[in-house]
Every structure is written in C-alpha cells, then in structure tokens.
Symmetry: C2
Subunit: 414 residues, 2 copies
C-alpha cells in the first residue's frame, strides 16, 4: 500500500526547493534544479536504488530485478521530470517522480522483489527552457537529440551540449543514453486540464498525446513617428497581427468543434518593434502553438493560417515577412497493453477512470518511440497548471500513486 | 549670411558622437550625451557665448545684448535639443541647436551686436527617456517640473532629480530655471512628417503643436496551458486587445478625416503576459499615444476608446482591468507675431513656405507657456524620423538656418 502521508511530505519537501521570490520554480540547468536533484538522489538511495546520471543528463535510480541476470525480461521504467516553468507548479513533473518513488517504497515495505529491473527516472529539462527545447532527456533516451538541438544556445551563449555536460551528462557518449531494453514505461502526471474535475472522475487513462507544432511569423510594415505619420499613410504591422490573431482563433474554434480529436491553437508570444510609445510599429513577430491529435487537421490549419497571414498583411499594406514551422512533434499513441493494465488496476480498487487525450506534451511522447508507453492522469483543480495555484489533493495523488504501483505489479507479472 | 559648409560640418561632427553600434544615438543622461554637450560647450565658447547649465540641466550659451544693462528688452532665445531616441537621427533636435549656432556665427561675422541678449539653448532630455518623461529641460523653464516628475525613476532606480543633478543641474534651486524674461523663442526643427517634401515647399511655419495624451490600458482574462485549455473555455486577454486595436484604429481614421485638425492615435507598446509560447495570455497591457489639435476631439476619442475597451473585454470573456490617462499635454499655439516674422523673413528671400501643424511634441510647447514662441520646420526626406534614415539636405538646412537668422534679426529690431 502507498504511504500517502509520506508521498505528501515528499511533495512539500520539493515545493520548498524553489527560487524564494518565485514559487514554485526550479528551472532546468539552474542551481535550484541541481539542489532538487540532490534531494532526489538521497531519497532514491534511501529506498535502495542505485543512482546514476545517464549521458543525456537523466537521473536514474535502479532496482535490480530477480531475473536481470538470467533471461532478462527488460526494464520497467516509471518517472517524470523535476524541472518547472517559471512560477510553475508543485505537481507538474515532480508528482510523477515522487509517485514512482512511493510505489517502489511500497514494494520494499511489502518485501516484494520485482521480476523486472525497475528504473525510476527524473528526465532532464522536460519544460521549454532558455535553450528553447523541451523533453531534452527523453529525446536523448529515444536517440532524438541531434547536432541541431545540441547546438542551441542558452544564457551566456552556453550550448545545450555544454549545459548537459555541466549538470552531469556526457554528450560525447550520447549514444549510450539511447534505450532498447525498456519493456514498459508508465508516467503519472497531473492532467493540467479541466476534464477529470469537471466530470468527477478520479483518474485519466491517456489514449495519446497531441502533436505540437510551433510556427513563428513576422509582419513587416513601415515604422514611423506616431505624431506625424498620418492615419491615411500608415502600414502598421501590429494591425496586420491583430487581424491575423482574430481570424486564426475563429478557425481554431471551428477546428476544435470538427470532431477530429483534440485541437487548440494559441499565440502566447508577441513582439512589437521597435516598441516605443511614440513609434508606429514597423514589425511584429509572434509564435503560434498548435496541438492536434489528427496530423492532417494540424497541417490543414497551418496552411490556412499562412493564407490568413498573407491576407491580413495585404489588407494593412504590410508584408508577411516570414511564416516558418520552427518545430513539430508528431502525436503519440499510448500502448494498448499498458492502457488496459491501468484500467484494470483502477477497476480492481473501484476507482473511476476515463480515457482522454493529452493536449500537453510529455516525456512519454519520446519514450513511446522506443518502448510501449502509457500515462496516468490525476485531476488538476480548475484545470490550472504552470502557475502557483496548480493543485491536486493529497488523496488524489495517493490514488494515482496506488494505480501506478498496481500497474507496475501487473506489468511485472506479465 | 549663414556659412552652410560650416553648419553641415557641425552636423557631421555631432553625428559622429554616437553609440558606435547604434547610430545615431545619444540618449539623454548618458555618457555619450555628455560627450556631445562637451563638444557643444567648446563650440558655443568659440563663438563668444558664455556657457552655463541651468538648474533644470539645460545648456545655455549667452551673448549679451547692447541694451541688457539699460532698458532691458528681454532675452531672445533659440535652440532645441541634442539628445536622441535609440537609433535616432542626425537632425532631430541637434539640427535646431546647430542652426542657432550658425545664426550667431553669422551675426558675429557681420559684426552685428544685437540689441537683445541672445541665448542659445540645448534643452535637456526632450525625447522620452528611460525616466518616462519628455521635454524635461523645457518643462523646467516653464516651471512645470513638479515633485511627481522629479520622483520618476530610471536605470538602477536613479530618480529624475538625481539624474538632473548628476549631469550638472541643481534641483534644489529648480525655481531659478523658471523664466519670465524671454521676449521671444524660435525653434528650428525637422518636420518629421511628409508634407513639405510632398508639396515641394522649402519651409514650414508652424501654427501650433498638437496636444498629446497617453492612455495605459490592461485587459485581464485567464492564463492557461496552451495544450489543455479548450478553445471553448478560453478568456484570452490578447484577443480582447486585438479586437480593441482594430476598432480604435478605425475610429482614429474617421477622426482624422473629420476636418477638426491634425489627429492620430497609435499603439506602439504592447505587453503579453505571462509571455510563454505554451501559455494562453492572461493579461495584456498597451499604451495608446493620441495627438490632436482639437482638445474636444481628443477627449471624445479617449472616451470612445474606453467604451471600445469595455466592449472588447466583454466579447472575449475578459475584463478591462484598467484604462488610465497617464499623461496629457495640451495643444500649444505659436505666437502670431513670430509666425509673421518667419513668413516675412522667408518671403524677403523668395523662399516658399506653408503653414502647418506639428503632430510631434517639441520644447516649444513648454516655452510657449512663458514666452511668445514659434517654430520653423525644414523638410524630412520621406517624412522619416527617429531612425538612421532620417535626412534633410545640406541646402535645406542652410535655408532653414538663414530663415532663423533673419527671424532673430527682425525680432531684435521689433
Ligand atoms: N506537460 C507540459 O506542461 N509540458 C510542457 C510542454 C507543453 O506541453 O507545452
Ligand atoms: N519631436 C519629437 O520627436 N518629439 C518627441 C516626442 C513626441 O512627439 O513623441
């Protein structure tokens, strides 16, 4: 049985390891992040896990299985990430690492030694960081960290490669982080959305994770003095962007209602240049974040947005200077066998579940490229995440950890 | 006669005093700005001007008039400012200071000693600076620098008061900067707009300067995860702002065409918060810059924009969190006597002129509160200003300086 009080105490201990003026923040690669990892290493070792940092910078605690030496059945892996976005939440990521720790603690308390070797992992830099890439560690495990990604630069011009080495990875040996020995991966995570709470359901069985595309676009008009440039003579790049925003949103609302799975599109980053109160904007830049379970719908919408960009620019006497797909992660399906195990585990304890898609990206996306992988969601109060108000009740966390434990036990027997 | 070559050489000398990586930039209160002032002090002194920095931080060069001791007819003042916006132009401000210097040089070369004492001034910080206030020095001369303005803070938390003292002013004695002895002020400036060039006219006789209001507004919606917050559940503060921008612009176009004088409204500063690519914007802030010759039109439009803000917020499920008039400078009329002198001076040399309003703010606005004041505009190529491309031909500058000289001579005789 999961020790619910101990799990909650661990969550509070990690919440206390934060930038003091910005709770709850542990940015990947920062000193605060490494402080959190030190805590994790001590806690992993206290449960008998052998700790290492793999070449991609993931922290891995290993419990040797009874059959590891003989007819090795492969590794059962669980875990999530301990880094956060700025202001970023007591549960997002770390909840899954600590639920995994609670599951292993329960096995040890019950004197259960698993058949499979079990690994508990804290993936490096799941959240978008100052290096502009998310899921760094899980990409490494999937062999999806290439030259281009490693050359990205962060604060002070440090490359991602150097940053990985700095926190204990070994980019020269990156191939060694690539895994083909994982027989199953299960990640517990908060939903970060409103569905489970709204429907009063305890756990989500994730069917798949929406693909994510990012598009960067720029409009170019003509900068001018705000006092002397007559209204009739303007090519105001911010008006082209405003037109574009409204039209893109209307199309995204229609796409979401089209019955083709989860779909959302968001503009969260906007740059108005030169950005003076008395200067007519000559250039605007924006990033669109688009998520879809259906790749065809994703591509149709991106093409539509390009057309909207051209049209908005023309109506405002501006130019669509660039429209570039800067990143693209394909949607991932969760493994049917593990999904069934999660449902069965919950059912045996009379805990309610429902299938749902994840609109948020997760390390599971990359693990699913090299192993059967699945996710358990616990409810998020008001669907809030990536903010200090992010919340899941202690009992809900314990229910999730119990389901994770039972799923690992089912998988160990399979 | 104006020494046109010497005037142009002076303009080039000042253009060379710039932040090397951002031509042409001399931000007020910066080391570069003080370097420019050192050049000006040496040049003023070379023409026999006695230099001082007044309590408000203005550099003043003084040529004693023949009647200064006896029945003092008051001071004739000319000048402009030597600070720039970032990337900001070889002519904006400094052209008027150097044209004034060229006029005094011409008087001396002709052996002319004026009846009035003549003062040549480089006003402190005309452009909006990191302290958020424009026309700092001319406000000081008009007694319009109060506690509120002096308490504004800039880089490193330095107050405006401390910054003025640092560059040679004396805020403790600020009252001494207030002037009531000026019998006439004439400022030469580039038009910063397209009218003179478009109509092939040499000089503008400024009728008045539009009033400037700044409104700061904020929309509040609900921040959320871009992947999990369904399109149907969003309160995206950036959509409220986009709606507002388009509607405000349409109203401003109509107001400009209403035949009630110069009117423009601009949003040059936008802030999207929290500003993450994967976060639905929960808050947006913007600054509106509104200019009108007609104060009633200004007030009607501001009220209309407030209504648009409320309506846009409501349509997007957001709130208009604030809508605040953060600054207001009333329109200023130029003095009829000096306007007539400028027209007469140009007419006597068969130089074409036209009356026009200034959409840009100028130190003349504040001088007009304590003295008869007027402005001469020289053409701006393509109307461009506040950018490295800002340009006025050498011959056009010389024509302007000649008109300034002739206007000062007419005023000296009056
Ligand atoms: N789960 C999560 O918040 N991942 C961060 C990447 C994203 O989905 O934007
Ligand atoms: N002339 C000029 O550019 N003044 C700066 C203040 C403004 O008009 O925005």
């Amino acid at each position: 049985e999961i020790d619910a009080d101990r799990l909650w105490a661990d969550i509070e201990a990690l919440a206390a390891i934060t930038d003091p003026d910005r709770p709850y923040t542990r940015r990947s690669f920062s000193a605060r992040f490494l402080e959190g990892r030190d805590w994790l290493i001590r806690a992993f070792e206290a449960e008998g896990l052998a700790c290492r940092i793999d070449a991609a910078g993931n922290l891995i605690g290993r419990l040797e299985g009874t059959e590891a030496a003989a007819a090795d059945p492969g590794v059962l892996m669980t875990g999530s990430h301990s880094d956060t976005v700025p202001d970023g939440g007591r549960f997002d990521g770390i909840g899954g690492v600590l639920a995994g720790l609670a599951a292993i603690r329960a096995m040890r308390a019950a004197g259960y030694t698993p058949r499979h070797t079990i690994e508990l992992v804290d993936f490096l830099a799941e959240e978008p960081s100052e290096w502009g890439l998310s899921c760094v560690g899980s990409r490494g495990m999937a062999g999806a960290l290439g030259e281009k990604e490693l050359a990205l630069t962060g604060p002070g011009g440090e490359t991602l490669a150097d940053a990985i080495d700095r926190i204990g990875g070994n980019v020269a040996e990156l191939k060694s982080a690539r895994r083909d020995d994982i027989t199953g991966f299960v990640e517990l995570h908060i939903e970060q959305g409103p569905v489970l709470e709204a429907e009063g359901i305890a756990l989500g069985v994730v069917t798949g994770i929406a693909g994510i595309s990012r598009v960067k676009l720029a409009f170019e008009g003509e900068a001018g003095h705000a006092g002397t440039t007559l209204m009739s003579m303007r090519a105001d790049a911010s008006m082209a962007l405003a037109r574009f925003q409204l039209r893109m949103r209307d199309a995204a609302v229609a796409a979401a209602a089209a019955g083709r799975g989860h779909f959302v599109a968001t503009i969260g980053v906007v740059n108005i240049l030169p950005g003076g109160a008395n200067v007519v904007p000559g250039r605007t830049e924006a990033i669109i974040d688009i998520r879809a379970e259906d790749t065809a719908l994703m591509n149709e919408q991106v093409e539509l947005y390009r057309q909207f960009g051209e049209a908005a620019a023309e109506m405002e006497g501006c130019r669509l200077k660039s429209f570039e797909r800067i990143s693209n992660v394909a949607p991932a399906a969760c493994a049917p066998g593990l999904r069934a195990a999660i449902s069965q585990a919950a059912g045996e304890r009379q805990v309610s579940t429902r299938d749902l898609a994840s609109g948020a990206g997760h390390d599971t996306v990359f693990l699913s490229q090299v192993a059967p992988a699945a996710m358990i969601f616990v409810p998020s109060r008001k669907g809030q995440s990536h903010c200090p108000e992010e919340w899941t009740d202690p009992a809900q966390m314990a229910q999730g950890a119990t389901c994770l434990l039972d799923t690992l036990l089912l998988a160990d027997k399979a």
